[in-house]
Symmetry: C2
Subunit: 406 residues, 2 copies
């Protein structure tokens, strides 16, 4: 596997565009993704009972037919809690895109992110669709235009692509995502799009995506709030010419490995770019009896407001880590826990068998002042482990969210 | 029932003291509560797997014997994650207090709050105990000294007392508590002490307390972090001379009514004085099928960081309320929900049947700029309801917690 430059346009046959249509006061706010041939489509969506209209629209397409060829995305308005009018907007957007692209409207996915409760400006978006079609390009710049158009409070675009070989054929997997706030995915997080030119049957595509999302997007949190719009779409157009993957063979394993790299990379970068974040917080739980136990504990650490504020203050307040593990719902013996803090500045053992090792506070502060911090808890019960990603909780998060709509 | 002035010393036979012993850099940090006769003792404690030493100490006393006569409290150090040495500290503190007060050491409860992982300075505390015994008084001022000595990041002391009549006898229930951070009680919250001169059998006392805590301390959250030290103690010394309550009769109902008032008052004031808070956030869910459903939904609203920051910004960002209900785990139909915002400045219907009513943003902002905000969600499924209390999430919370230990 080789990391290459680019994102959703890196795989053969995928074109993209991103423009400023006028939904937001300024900046790009609409994107389009298009494949020159129909794709097998897999998707995972929010488990929030309150599901945005585009989630309902896409879920039907992915689960009933599993075929798609284009996706229209917008930022600024989430099209959630918008009732019948919201669904009608999806239908009109897909219809306009289908017409402009010459494909069936039920091959067109939609995705939205932004303020909940407002209706989409459908006329503005229809014009935006017509404006984007002639701009569609397989260039890296076009992929980047799309990746920036889906950003809300993100400070950095998130794009990644890899090459790998399946049965002698080079295939590419590329992806983009946006995150920043309302990030506590419970199926997949808010807007991630992954494209590949590999030939994979729809059931195997969905299987690969569902497993991959469990270990990537579902292991991050910015603020504990599971969004109404969480959507992760994986499109495979088969143009790489590999023999189609239809079972769990070595090609499937290789494909999953590439996909896992892409989803983890995107997830990790979403956590690092959480609203107001100054540091990525990685929690590793090792020595667990089961993966499930390790995951619950790791997620509880990165979700705790008190752990997150301690990281913001470069403060080795390890009691908060143990406290967060303690209320997670997973069982363990606090008096057996070893805890380590680690970063580019070094690694330090903070507690051994549940009590303070007498570590140097100065050294700990230095380690916690880096941009990427890893907290490792060894619970000494078995061989399983899990990793979760979050970020610190800062004044920036409050500033961004206390007046998001104005 | 009549609200009277005072707190834990309001009921007959209860004495208290609070001093600055030197555990903290400045201010009161040790308190003592003492009854002139042994009391029936009930208690509820944290469900966090990581339980502080005083929680283990008190739980044994309350559950094995149900009798106590004194309690020694300190702020500054939580005596959590302190292993065997932490338990030994409890034993030494109780021993010293028993000696100084002339009572058995297993009649002495202990309670601690503050930084996790540090050992208590036992010698300083033993001296503090000897200093406090001559200061013990049933005056209101002595109760207040104790109530201020248990504070950490609290900005206001929390004391309340009520009188009521049981079988022709006037009885009193008084209480104090501390809160502010690491507040998301899962059995009872960090340090609440309630005293009464009513005669109540231990099983009925525990029954009354457990039920009361469910509807008060277990319905508040400041930051979603369930503490290692959560403790609520109820002591009844019987000095009021009422005939002992031993069954669920009308006297028990009257006692519970008074107790519920005290626990809710304390819980509500703890939420309002959450770290950095500028507003109390009350969430009422009505029209629910069951109490359990209503409670899960109400707690999810007041726990959401995004709802809390919107309140901080006086922003009627109602989509976040619906989103938090949606990921709570309780089922409901988002398209049937009516939502109201209410405060001293008025009441406004924000959404009807899941969609925007076209309310005035100006009016909503005015309502959300008050010190106490109520969000009411009518889910139109039945007759049950529940209320939960939280607070806004502000820059103050970050400042307090990013560098708590220094």
């Amino acid at each position: 596997m080789e990391i290459i430059s680019g994102g959703v346009t890196a795989a053969q046959g995928f074109l993209a565009a991103g423009i400023a249509s006028g939904i937001k006061k300024s900046g790009r706010d609409m994107a389009m993704l298009y494949s020159s041939v129909p794709c097998r489509a897999a998707g995972t969506f929010t488990t929030n009972i309150v599901k945005a209209a585009p989630v309902l629209w896409d879920r039907r397409i992915v689960h009933e037919k599993g075929i798609a060829q284009a996706c229209v995305m917008n930022s600024g308005i989430a099209n959630a809690c918008t009732g019948e009018e919201g669904i009608r907007a999806c239908r009109q957007i897909a219809g306009e895109a289908g017409l402009a692209l010459g494909i069936p409207s039920d091959y067109v996915l939609t995705a939205s992110t932004g303020v909940i409760g407002r209706q989409l400006p459908v006329d503005i978006m229809k014009k935006g669709i017509r404006d984007m079609v002639p701009l569609l390009s397989d260039s890296e710049a076009a992929g980047t235009a799309a990746a920036t158009a889906i950003m809300t409070t993100d400070t950095k675009k998130k794009e990644i692509a890899v090459n790998l070989t399946l049965g002698g054929r080079k295939i590419t997997i590329g992806g983009m995502s946006k995150g920043a706030g309302m990030i506590h995915p419970k199926m997949c997080t808010m807007l991630a799009f992954i494209t590949t030119d590999a030939a994979v049957s729809q059931p195997m595509l969905q299987k690969a995506l569902s497993a991959s999302v469990e270990e990537s997007f579902n292991m991050i949190s910015v603020d504990g709030d599971t969004s109404t719009n969480d959507t992760c779409i994986l499109l495979a157009n088969g143009l790489a010419g590999n023999s189609e993957i239809t079972e769990e063979d070595s090609d499937f394993q290789a494909f999953c490995e590439g996909l896992d790299f892409v989803t983890r990379w995107l997830a990790r970068h979403m956590a690092a770019d959480g609203e107001g974040a100054t540091a990525l917080l990685e929690a590793k739980v090792i020595g667990a009896e089961s993966r499930a136990q390790a995951k619950v504990l790791a997620k509880s650490i990165i979700t705790s407001n008190l752990v997150k504020t301690a990281i913001a203050g470069h403060d080795a307040n390890w009691g908060r880590v143990l406290c967060a593990m303690g209320y997670s719902g997973a069982s363990f013996d606090p008096e057996k826990v070893d805890l380590y803090f680690e970063s580019a500045a070094g690694k330090i053992k903070i507690i051994g068998d549940g009590v303070d090792t007498g570590y140097s506070e100065e050294e700990a502060t230095k380690i916690l002042s880096e941009k990427e911090i890893t907290v490792t808890a060894d619970i000494k019960m078995g061989q399983e482990s899990a990793t979760a990603w979050g970020c610190d909780l800062t004044h920036g998060y409050i500033s961004i969210n206390a007046d998001y709509r104005s």
